[in-house]
């Protein structure tokens, strides 16, 4: 039997990916260039008995998905730029209270209202450092319509597996671009279930580390009563200022991601075997980079691309290894050098890092990358 195909936009694909992953609750506030996600979810969720709520603003939307997740739902919100800024306090709440949820943020020009219809990649640092305090961060950066679909499913899986907020951040080009998509059959892509308690309600503690770094999460309304707070907490969920408990809990929350980077970090290596010039790219910019690498190879330049698919946690290990053999890195991105900082941190001075930074609302074209390659000696 042939698979179902469609010609879809990245945002539409994201919505269908969420539904495949079992999303049954969406709360959001419409904002260009992410509104199509809310449009599709508002049409599709009622058909499967799910809930769609347009909230009064982005803060309310973030609060709503955290509440719904605690009640056992698989939840999504979508936003862009200023909306992400508004959600940040509650993203931190999701991190410390350990509430699985997916935040789909389409990157447009910023800061503030910036350029609502222009593409950008300038939210990647906000994905990790936007909310204050030490916390785990997972952020996926898809580069095609098909990949957006698949990465949204993976985001749901990671959110459940590590009991933490996960972000998916396409740039506006990927989000609004249309391509053919082939839908997987039900069951073809694994969907991670939530780990729920095996103990009776009277013995349940929401942060019981005797079950490991990711304690089971009960759903409100199933007989389990527990306390949730944004304060540093004990295993039973009630606040504490006990130094050793706070230290251990903070470290555990970050360790959920840091100790599992090999499970979370994904990337693509393109023509890297003999590459002297290594382009490090993500999102739609990686498509320009691939074009440039192909063109460079035709001109006899030994170029390759390391494509970041998981921006956080950052692929430190892989880039450190590349720095040992590359003559130089080129980092094209639609911001003023955010990924480049991370690449420099990993290159540790062993290979120069040349940036191509654009914030004018135009994509980085392959010629710019090709020209920059010639500066690597």
């Amino acid at each position: 039997m042939s698979k179902k195909v469609a010609f879809l936009q990245g945002n539409e694909a994201a919505s269908h990916g969420a539904l495949y992953a079992g999303c049954n609750f969406f709360a959001g506030y419409p904002i260009t260039p992410s509104t199509e996600v809310a449009e599709v979810m508002s049409a599709e969720l009622p058909k499967i008995g799910g809930k769609f709520i347009q909230m009064e603003d982005e803060i309310g939307a973030m609060a709503a998905i955290l509440g719904a997740s605690l009640a056992g739902a698989k939840v999504l919100t979508s936003t862009s730029g200023p909306g992400l800024s508004l959600k940040q306090e509650l993203i931190g709440y999701g991190c410390i209270a350990e509430i699985p949820c997916v935040i789909y943020n389409v990157m447009r020009g910023g800061p503030s209202t910036g350029m609502p219809t222009g593409p950008s990649q300038s939210d990647v640092m906000a994905a990790k450092w936007g909310t204050h305090g030490d916390h785990p961060a997972i952020c996926l950066v898809p580069a095609s319509v098909q990949e957006t679909y698949e990465e949204v499913i993976r985001a749901f899986n990671l959110a459940e597996k590590y009991r933490t907020p996960v972000m998916v951040m396409p740039d506006e080009i990927v989000a609004h671009m249309r391509e053919r998509i082939v839908f997987p059959e039900p069951g073809e892509i694994a969907v991670e279930p939530r780990k729920t308690p095996t103990v009776p309600p009277e013995q349940y503690k929401p942060y019981d580390t005797s079950f490991g770094d990711v304690p089971p999460l009960a759903a409100y309304g199933t007989g389990y009563k527990f306390h949730v707070t944004g304060l540093n907490k004990m295993q039973d969920g009630f606040p504490t200022t006990k130094a050793e408990v706070v230290q251990a809990e903070e470290e555990r929350q970050v360790r959920k991601v840091e100790a599992n980077v090999d499970d979370i970090v994904t990337f693509e290596e393109y023509m890297l075997d003999d590459a002297e010039v290594v382009v490090i790219a993500y999102g739609s910019t990686s498509r320009s980079a691939r074009y440039a690498v192909n063109a460079a190879r035709e001109q006899g330049i030994k170029a390759g691309m390391f494509r970041i698919k998981t921006f956080w946690p950052f692929p430190d290990k892989q880039i450190k290894a590349l720095a040992q053999k590359a003559k130089g890195f080129i980092v094209p991105e639609m911001n003023l050098g955010m990924c480049a900082i991370e690449v420099e941190r990993n290159a540790q001075g062993k290979a120069p890092v040349l940036g191509i930074f654009r914030v004018d609302g135009e994509p980085i074209n392959p010629d710019q990358i090709l020209e920059k390659m010639k500066e690597v000696k």
Binding site: A6, F7, T32, N365
Partner: protein
């Protein structure tokens, strides 16, 4: 790689993004090729510059935007002036002859006919001017067959307007063939 690049340009509200989507859908879903459609537009709902770009290829498409344009549709003078410079030698420029009075010079083929007026007077509704333009672009570019393009049109418009759009598509196709002869 057989990369073919099209740009549909004009003003917001002329339906050019839709025209681009249908062209790409025809190639990707009905013609068995690969296609990517992307767009850029301003914050205005009407007016302002708008463009929709379509890349068609037999193989995977990396860069989703136009590098050197094979075929350009310009529905305003501004669009014609702005985008004709990166038209390939031997490429094709389609313009609305009522709206683009100063035909930009270059080593490409220019085809002109009154696109909006065709929709208004011959088809009967100005709103389908984008489908008239699409029909013309299908005829001039040869990237998808007339049949497959028509299928893509009919699967993309509301059921109550199938005949209207079918007529608009045919008119555009035939007028472009006549105008380029």
């Amino acid at each position: 790689m057989s990369r073919y690049e099209l740009r549909f340009s004009g003003a917001g509200g002329q339906g050019l993004i839709t025209a681009g989507i249908i062209m790409a859908k025809a190639a990707s879903i009905y013609e068995g090729k690969q296609a990517v459609q992307s767009q850029s537009y301003g914050p205005e709902a009407r007016g302002g510059a708008s463009k929709s770009e379509v890349i068609i290829s037999d193989g995977p498409i990396d860069y989703p935007k136009v590098t050197q344009c094979d075929a350009l549709l310009a529905m305003t003078q501004e669009a014609a002036n702005k985008y004709s410079h990166d038209l390939k030698e031997g490429g094709v420029l389609l313009i609305d002859s009522d709206l683009v009075k100063n035909v930009p010079p270059g080593n490409f083929k220019t085809v002109a006919f009154p696109i909006i007026n065709t929709a208004k007077n011959d088809v009967g509704r100005e709103i389908v001017a984008n489908i008239v333009a699409l029909g013309a672009m299908v005829a001039l570019t040869g990237q998808v067959s007339r049949e497959n393009a028509e299928k893509a049109v009919l699967s993309s418009v509301p059921e109550a307007f199938l005949e209207l759009n079918k007529k608009a598509f045919s008119m555009g196709y035939d007028k472009a063939v006549a105008a380029s002869a």
